[in-house]
Symmetry: C2
Subunit: 284 residues, 2 copies
């Protein structure tokens, strides 16, 4: 087994049907040094066991997915849930190998049912980040606001551009609030390069994820992501911009794709390592 | 038959399977005063007959769809085709009732096959507009650059935001190059209100179209549009912004939706008139 790129991290969503132990094992088996975890498979074994598995794996944690979903008009329960997610992030990052990133990915959430007030929903996300930032700081965790593709604005994420995510993040200290740059979500943005530079200057890049855009868009738009290099995104050029902006953390591959999910996770992990090298051009 | 809103225009794509004569007839029959035509049904009867039908209908022309598709690395044929489209726009607008708008909608086109250079494709659109502007000015036609939803950037339209369309349009005289504001394409944009104001100040709003965003996104993302009021878009607030920006032209309803296409065009035209009133809140 050749080692994968030293900065590659496999996001667990790419091998969605593997349980935590399997996910850690196939990641390590493919020579990949880091993993991005999801809360559900962590919860399935319990946090202490998950931390023990993580510690035993020798893998770095690159992020935990996900907090957020704070666009509701009544957010108390969602905020409590986010505080628990922050605590989990701290525990899992501490259990991970040196270089682990205590990063909690925040997906904003969509419009509440029957609600057309997009501006209002967006302002509630900002308020929620404000309500969580002290808890995050106390736990040493970075809240990473993820701009999502505009096609998800109604039902998943009302933060639609990197610029908008930065406008929000910059209202808080950089050690506690950053952004996720996921190529699948932001590749189309005419302002992408300048916003990546801005994010880098301010030390706001908490996570970088690579995924591709394939056409035709599959029937379920949520599962539209292609493996790196399979689609239309110039991953090499975007990765270069992120590199130039000073980001030196792990680079996650997070693919929501039914065919990928149906494949053997060992094979998917190996494929990921190979495609990552070929498509990102990342040398250091 | 109650008259429809005096500024409503039915875009022919909403009743896609009707031929030109039928489209004009059901539009008039629904008490709608204007129509947005498409080149294909015009070509099916020939330009002179189309102009005669238009003149006989008493309807205003609100726009002709569509020119553009100029992202190819070799654009000569596309530019010639666009010049023909400009000439057709002038003829059809002259044949329409007073208040007709000589507006040619430009859909940029997507990435060329196997090409990941989005910045290059976008710069070729700017060059193409530059190559067409004199011909448009000579014909008294406005080229209306249409920003398309970012989910179409790979395969249909590389101009993704109103701001980007304005950046391009503003390099040319306002009497020859403007923009289309279609709610379906731009509603998600965090910068929407300021860009609508900017477009209005510069006299760049050549066309305003209302369509809704429905969830879940239908399997064919191209046919994802909902009738006004059926989805998540705050049409009333966006229409108010466009109105405040000084736009007083016709407002098109352009819906790509398989179920709408299968329905009786007479019923669709009447429904459009009713839903338009209820959802846009447009009083003048």
């Amino acid at each position: 087994m050749t080692a994968a790129h030293p900065r590659l991290s496999l996001n667990q969503a790419t091998i969605r049907h593997a349980d935590l132990a399997t996910a850690l094992q196939v990641t390590e088996g493919a020579g990949i040094g880091a993993i991005g975890l999801w809360r559900e498979p962590v919860a399935a074994v319990g946090l202490s066991k998950a931390a023990a598995l993580m510690a035993g794996s020798g893998l770095r944690l690159s992020s935990l997915c996900r907090g957020g979903f704070v666009t509701g008009r009544e957010n108390r329960a969602a905020l409590d849930e986010n505080k628990r997610a922050i605590d989990e992030t701290a525990v899992l990052a501490a259990a991970g190998a040196p270089g682990s990133a205590p990063v909690l990915v925040l997906v904003a959430g969509g419009l509440p049912d029957g609600d057309r007030d997009l501006i209002g929903a967006r302002s509630r996300v900002r308020e929620a980040v404000g309500a969580l930032v002290d808890h995050a700081a106390g736990a040493g965790v970075v809240l990473a606001i993820e701009p999502m593709h505009p096609m998800y604005v109604a039902d998943r994420g009302v933060i639609s551009t990197l610029g908008q995510a930065l406008d929000m993040a910059e209202q808080f200290p950089a050690e506690s609030v950053g952004v996720v740059i996921d190529t699948f979500h932001v590749w189309w943005d005419p302002a992408l390069n300048e916003q990546i530079a801005r994010a880098g200057c301010g030390g706001r890049i908490a996570s970088y994820q690579v995924g591709d855009w394939i056409t035709p868009l599959p029937p379920d738009a949520l599962l539209a992501r292609g493996m790196p290099g399979e689609g239309h995104v110039d991953l090499q050029s975007i990765t270069e911009s992120v590199q130039k902006a000073g980001y030196r953390g792990d680079v996650e591959v997070e693919i929501f794709n039914e065919a990928v999910w149906q494949a053997d996770p060992t094979w998917v992990a190996e494929q990921t390592a190979e495609l990552f090298d070929r498509s990102t051009g990342l040398t250091t």
